[in-house]
Amino acid sequence: MSQVLVVGSGVAAVAVSRRLLASDPTVQITLLEAGGDFIAADYRQWLDMIMSGVSPTRAYNDPVKDADINTDGGMQLRGGRMLAKGGTTGHWGGWCPRLKPEDFALGEVKGDRALNWAINYADFIDYYTQAEIFLNVCGDSTLTNPPRNQGQYPFAATGYSAIDGVIMPALERLGYGYEAMPVSRHPEKCRTTGTCVYCPFDAKYTAVSDLDRLLLEYAGRIELRLQSPVLAITMASPKQAAGVEVLNPQTGAKQFIAADKIIVAAGTIESTKLLLASVSERWPNGLGNQGGHLGKHLVTHPFAIATGEIPNNQQRLADELGFPTLACRHFDSPEYQELGKMYFLRYNQVSGINYDKRLLDGVSPAAIDDEVLNHSRVELRGMIEAFDEPGNEVGLAPGTTALGLPRTKIQHREPEATLRARKQHHQHLVGVLKEAGLKNIEDRSFWGNRVDHATSTCRMSVDAADGVVDGNLRVHDTDNLYLCSNAVFPNCGAVNPTLTLVGLALRLGNHLASA
């Protein structure tokens, strides 16, 4: 049997493990999760959430004291990722757009300021289709930009909400067009409760539930160890990883676990930190850091946000689904790549009045009626493609976190170019709202953004001098050490990263099974 250690238990860890177990009967996998247990789709926990307003996932957010963050507001650990079994898909929104072909070739536009991916869209297109099936994505299979190569979504698009109709004519008149937002929702499970952050039906994909299934399906060949923070990767030789050093948080004891292959799938921040913490004579600055790129090039999405009031909302339009249904890729196109692209959607969490809160605030039902009729808002939210900026990076800070991992150091400031792109795209959104006839338009843009879209700190490259991993996600100049996280993206594009990450994980599973 071949012993494979996977660091992390999130969606990347589960996807690569599932593919590897299915493809290679000789593989034995151990998943090492630093966090504790998390139970999805528990009715009582959901009930407590809707009655109290506090999501059960919040307990698994980063404690503020676990990181030293030097930022102008542009990076927050807390609220982005989940530190528990199954990782961040425990609370994700399930938005699943693909990157576009030009995103894989940003170096063609940005020259020395960016790197092309070591793979291209055409090579990856089938893995996108597989990832959409893996994540139970509802989407429009007739769309052709980006190309789908006849790949079918497993489920039809969800349909547009009535409130989308406020925006659609404006998008048509402006020539921007629109399309269905691809979302991970199982249509037979979803009951439109709108509490998607903690779904009582497990209707969106969660790695925690898939992991439970995996442990049953492959019992005897896969093991999960919770509360097992990995402190370092130990090398048997300059190129050969021998295993990992794991902390027992209760006793403080450290244990060595041997492996034939190691896959680090612990998210952008923790994966990067683990390589940085794994130093040796051959790798004095961290594993894979021969080119000086480990921890560098940190990017994530800022948001451009504009909202406007629906005048005379006699239809009492409000959000009726718990996820966005309308998106626009007009600005997510090659002509905007120099500026920084934008993928925008009608955001789904602001278009209604919070009746229970207003009543408990002492507002009369008549006054709430007036708010519904005259002050219901529509929000357009755009994710902006950010570019690499020297000095934006992840590192190790002194001390340990609550889970026993090294504390995090983040340096992240908004580049002038990103600010410029964010402001220009905000004006594009304002233009749409004005064209739609909305009033009292507000700028709610913010640079502050979360770490769950962070990428590029272990970027892939053809040449070892330019990055940390190769096109097969193997750490450069090692034989058996792989990285499977958003950290390997050379750039972030303008869309959510998870679908692409799952595609990469499935591709890595195939690669390892065939190696």
Binding site: A162, P187, T192, E320, Y355, P365, I368, V372
Partner: protein, 195 residues
């Protein structure tokens, strides 16, 4: 004895009948805040702020306490004219059982809130005033978790109001769906309004 002011606006806001609100002086009514309502729950100054009191103590709520909470819900449904909740009070015991039979248990919070309601109904001139007191009188307290009244508002009355709205009361405002409302599969016709 400490006091809290209940105004006509507050009563009208709460949906109380205009005839009842008219009995309140224009300057508002100062209601007494009984010492026992301002004391810590069960006299325990160390009651946790981030979870129900004695969350590990599971069990069933006694019939009298259930009845008090049912009456509160009936009043709120009527006061705010919340539609589609005719069976809510009848189904409330099952909800309370679910919240008290497993940790984190709300048993101690429900018992305390029910006792507070019973005392308020005996003390105030009308049930309208008693329930308004229960919902709103404690909101200006500085450390609401340190008092029975504040805890009853947070852990019991406010939570029940949220549940009633999400269970169907939101239709009062013309919506078809609402966060927390369990509807049907979105693939079914009529599940949501389509553009």
């Amino acid at each position: 004895m400490p006091t809290a002011k209940i105004t006509r606006r507050l009563l009208i806001s709460a949906g109380v009948a205009a005839g009842v609100a008219a009995l309140i002086p224009l300057s508002g009514l100062l209601v007494s805040l009984p010492e026992e309502d301002l004391a810590p729950i069960a006299g325990d100054k160390n009651a946790p702020a981030n979870q129900p009191y004695r969350a590990e103590q599971t069990g069933s709520l006694d019939g009298s306490a259930v009845s008090q909470l049912q009456d509160f819900c009936r009043w709120a449904i009527a006061a705010w004219a919340l539609p589609g909740l005719d069976d809510y009070a009848a189904q409330l015991p099952a909800l309370l059982e679910l919240k008290t039979q497993q940790a984190p248990s709300y048993l101690a919070e429900y018992q305390s809130a029910a006792a507070l309601l019973m005392a308020a109904r005996a003390r105030e001139k009308s049930d309208d005033q008693a329930y308004t007191y229960a919902l709103f009188a404690g909101r200006d307290l500085k450390n609401s978790n340190a008092t029975r009244l504040g805890r009853a508002e947070r852990w019991v009355f406010n939570e029940l109001v949220r549940h009633m709205i999400k269970t169907g009361g939101f239709r009062r405002f013309g919506s078809q769906n609402y966060d927390g409302f369990i509807n049907v599969a979105f693939t079914e016709a009529g599940a949501f309004r389509r553009s």
